[in-house]
Amino acid sequence: MPKFISKFLLSILFLVLAGCSAPRGNYVILLPEEDGSVGEVSVRNDAGVQTISSVNTVVEIPDDKAPKKPRELSNDIVAKLVAETEAAQPPKPLSFFFFFGFDSAELTEESNVIFASVLAEIATRETVDISLIGHTDTIGASDYNKELGLRRADNLRDKLIENGIDGGSIDIKSLGEENPLGGGEGQGGRAFNRRVDMVLR
């Protein structure tokens, strides 16, 4: 085989391998989020910086050298590399809203229905920690509303504890009237603001 042909073949082989060879050493791969969106990552050391913003792109970081130029990896290679670590991802945090009547810290009937679905979700998880943030409408003094928001969150916490959830993993606070949902302070808006936001992790 003439020399130039073998050189040509070799360089093609090299290009093909570069596109699909697994990264080595220290590296970062950018992955798509659940909704398909992609963020951005910068990798920096004393010798330089690289930024990646497209899916399945890798930056390798050699010791004592600048991060290498980003390159794209095949889906197969990425899937293989991340499999073990991805399998240990915690379940996705979920948000719930609980609504209350005017100047009341008692859950509305709809909120009791939501509470039942929260208990069902908790039952599917091995362990949970929960954040509760109480809110109010803007009627009344702001100090009073802060305290009302806390009573709302407190009641929800007690209900969780009654249902066997460890109080030590429930974090509560009140924002009172400071953080309206949807912004509107008309009749409907006010009802939306009389609430507790729950995050279940």
Partner: protein, 157 residues
């Protein structure tokens, strides 16, 4: 046999004492916990205040803790701002800094991967921060990664 009995009775005492302790603090949220262990496969460990112990599901984690996996073990933790992090086998990660107090504009997430693999899904801190380069840092022995709201995989050796 005697030794075993003695040991088990002191274990019993210990269990009883911790039960007492737990019941007095039952409604008190652990304010200084920054993350909780949600997934455990095989034996994983935490080095906390100089002592190493085995991790249980649901354990709280604190600033400066170092979590470690071994051969064929892996773990997943969720932080208070909904950031999700998991580690593959033979990994070691230090939780350098974490502040989540949006009302007072205090936001910080900094972890250090000494070795192994890490999968990161950003949480609320990444959404709220105005200075991602300062507030959100994942460091490895070869370089520092700054993140703008994303999912990514990191390997360090």
């Amino acid at each position: 046999m005697f030794l075993v009995r003695k040991l088990s009775s002191s274990f019993l005492k210990l269990a009883f004492m911790s039960l007492l302790f737990a019941s007095t603090s039952v409604a008190q949220a652990d304010e200084s916990a920054i993350a909780y262990v949600k997934v455990l496969n095989g034996a994983c460990y935490v080095e906390s205040a100089g002592a190493e112990r085995i991790l249980q599901i649901g354990d709280p984690l604190y600033k400066d803790d170092i979590v470690k996996t071994r051969n064929e073990s892996s773990l997943g933790v969720s932080f208070r701002d909904n950031t999700l992090v998991s580690l593959g086998s033979n990994s070691s990660l230090k939780l350098n800094n974490f502040e989540f107090d949006p009302d007072n504009k205090k936001l910080a997430f900094a972890v250090q991967l000494f070795e192994g693999t890490l999968l990161y899904i950003s949480g609320i801190i990444a959404k709220l921060t105005k200075n991602p380069d300062e507030d959100l840092q994942i460091s490895t022995p070869a370089g520092t990664i700054s993140v703008r709201g994303t999912k990514m995989f990191v390997r360090a050796e």
